[in-house]
Symmetry: C2
Subunit: 435 residues, 2 copies
């Protein structure tokens, strides 16, 4: 069964309009979702554990009578780790070690400097006290995501990491628990949905309030995170995953086809884009897609995703490819070209850049070291991969010498009076030394 | 007229409950506000300039017939700067120079490292292309805020800074325009409210779409920012301003009273808190408040703010004061003590820390150098002052050598198969070298 994939030539008459239509994505929380989420949050705030138990029994078909039944102890996590097959355990440990090593480089340090009159200015960097990690249950339960969310928090120095993971019908993912043990998660509650987000944001008798909530989830989770933003920190609200491959036409076309599949297999809304200056090569990749697609375990999902959202784009040259990529600001960008270093300075916006033919995106998804939680849907224009910096915060430091306060008091006084804030002015003027 | 200010003793029976009640703050966008904002955003997206002109004429009582009339050219900004009184110009320039010098230290640089097998990992740091700054019009128009929002973006290397500032009834604030000229703002539109936020987030024929919107505003602006979050980046949604002063009882009580006033004069919801181990000293500060309050220009606002939200708290010692401050996570924290360095390691959460008796908060508000846009309402638990880092973003860099890709391909294959993502696994396996 042949597959139709959108093919465009940059510069053709309707190129911009067709590209924009294919890129368009907006996560819409409809009124009903908003209403349910608002109610769940209000009840968890008002009734605490009792509401958590009731919602979990209802939505996840559990039979808990008390919150204590919805917590998993460290011994349960360790058992999951101990019972892993040796190859999985080794792979998970290798990934965790590399992720930690990379993220260590992201740590910000406090700094200060002293001016001539003795005034000290600086910035104090401290970790958050406690963070919450949302891990989806069911079909999209990814142990790699546990590592990617928990390890940066741990490296930042966060004292307590709380994980929530729903176990619909009581089904537990052993790999997820093993990853939690490995990443140093402190407490695990088998909660999901808006009720889990509300519990982390406001705290209950049993679930402690956290300072920030990270991790992906369905529309109820995303809507709840948006609602509690401000009471706690949140990470970005992620859209469907995307890959953009810039290829010079010299990579094995099977490799490129499979790299496109690796994105498309996530879900029907995932987006795979190839940009190439060589029309014949695009034909070859299409042939590889036709050949390989019937061999894929997740063929149906891949087929739908490619049909609805994939784009094969012919451009004039690699510089035009880079310019187009900047406009799209992709989550994952593969530079499958002979000299990726030469192209790199032209790349302004991308979540992660995979350089050279050997650097398949999937290596970065699991074990290269950098984070796989990346800005989607063009948000790489203004946001960054999840990192240690997401679990640290800064306090400005100001310590004026008597002389410095006197000099700056004069400046502040003029500016404060210009804004009619005379208490500000007088507070500054008290610190002006007599001549 | 004597003033009643809440006075608490830490540890007294009802202390926690009373403190929580006084700290409680939640910005609530009611249904009507949400509905208006949704409609404004939808119309600006659909109709562009025409909707902007119509809303501006209606809400700001203007008579524009075309968007070009709602843009101010560079010459207008420069004229405002040229016409400033000399003392104001010098003060503004001094502040701008110090703000730029401090923020230069916040710049993140790209980094990379090479592993034994030649694999390169790193992080590329780039500025956003274009950002929008919202500046309130009318009574709360602060030139210092223009400097504090624009200069970090400029230091980050943002190519284009767009400012929006409403001019209700055509009233223009010359100091605000002068500050825009000084800070290097590129374009200024006389727009405000949700319509200005929508224009920046989605772009119109005349207003270019930006990557991030920063700056304070009223409930319509805050609601609109929350609504467009995701399409563009936003800064924190700020609550009322707060100060927390830890004093050892040795600072001139008039100074402390005036520092409390400087916060209270912002608006009726602003919060001023004093924590001190010396009950007699708290009496002296209360006496200073009574004495100085009738002399204040903004007495009515200060009186309301102090009556409703101020708290004077007696604690056992300075360590207890620090612990209490961490629980509150104040926006502004004054350590008005003999040895602020000794107390600093105990401070975990605060937007800005003003150390020593000479360091009045108002010096930091204007010209110390650090930013005055700070996390309010306890959000210093998880967020930071506005800074250069808010206008930079990061891209992960991964470049595997053939050997590195082969080794890591084996690890990724195991993990991907553990997650049933076989396209990921096969993509990685293609890069495994034959033995």
């Amino acid at each position: 069964m042949s597959i139709e994939i959108t093919r465009l030539v940059a510069g053709q008459a309707d190129f911009d309009a067709r590209l924009d239509a294919l890129l368009a994505w907006e996560s819409v929380s409809d009124k009903q979702v908003n209403q349910i989420v608002d109610e769940v949050i209000a009840r968890v705030r008002a009734e605490g554990d009792a509401a958590l138990v009731e919602y979990t029994n209802r939505f996840d078909r559990m039979r808990a009578s008390h919150m204590t039944e919805l917590e998993m102890g460290q011994s349960r996590l360790l058992a999951a780790l101990e019972n892993l097959p040796a190859d999985q355990r080794l792979a998970l440990e290798t990934a965790a070690t590399r992720i930690a090593a990379y993220h260590e480089r992201q740590k910000s340090e406090s700094w200060r400097y002293t001016e001539a009159d003795g005034t000290v200015l600086g910035q104090q960097v401290t970790p958050m006290d406690r963070v919450g990690i949302y891990v989806p249950g069911g079909k999209a339960a990814y142990p790699s995501s546990v590592l990617m969310n928990a390890i940066p928090a741990k490296v930042a120095g966060v004292q307590e990491i709380i994980m929530v993971v729903p176990t619909p019908d009581g089904v537990v993912n052993e790999l997820v628990l093993a990853a939690a043990a490995l990443a140093g998660v402190d407490r695990v509650f088998t909660l999901g949905g808006a009720q889990a987000v509300a519990a982390l944001a406001y705290g209950t008798e049993t679930v402690p309030r956290v300072d920030k909530i990270v991790g992906p989830g369905n529309i109820f989770v995303a809507t709840a995170k948006r609602a509690v933003f401000g009471a706690v920190g949140i990470d970005m609200i992620a859209g469907p995953s995307e890959i953009l491959i810039i290829c010079d036409g010299q990579t094995d076309p099977d490799w490129i086809a499979m790299d496109l599949f690796s994105q498309a297999e996530h879900d029907e809304d995932a987006q795979s884009i190839l940009i190439c200056p060589d029309a014949d090569y695009i034909d070859q990749v299409q042939a590889s897609i036709e050949k390989l697609l019937p061999t894929m375990e997740r063929e149906t999902i891949i087929r739908t995703s490619l049909k609805n959202r994939a784009i094969l784009i012919e451009v004039a040259d690699l510089q035009a490819a880079a310019a187009l990529s900047n406009r799209i600001a992709p989550e994952h960008l593969e530079l499958s070209v002979a000299d990726p270093e030469a192209l790199l300075p032209s790349i302004r916006h991308a979540g992660a850049i995979f350089m050279g033919r050997y650097t398949a995106e999937s290596l970065g998804d699991y074990c290269a070291g950098p984070n796989h939680v990346l800005p989607t849907s063009g948000t790489a224009r203004f946001s960054s991969p999840l990192g240690v910096y997401d679990f640290q915060k800064r306090s400005s430091l100001i310590m004026f010498s008597a002389e410095g306060a006197s000099e700056m008091g004069k400046v502040a006084s003029v500016l404060a009076r210009g804004e009619s804030l005379t208490a500000h002015a007088r507070s500054a003027e008290y610190r002006i030394l007599p001549d």
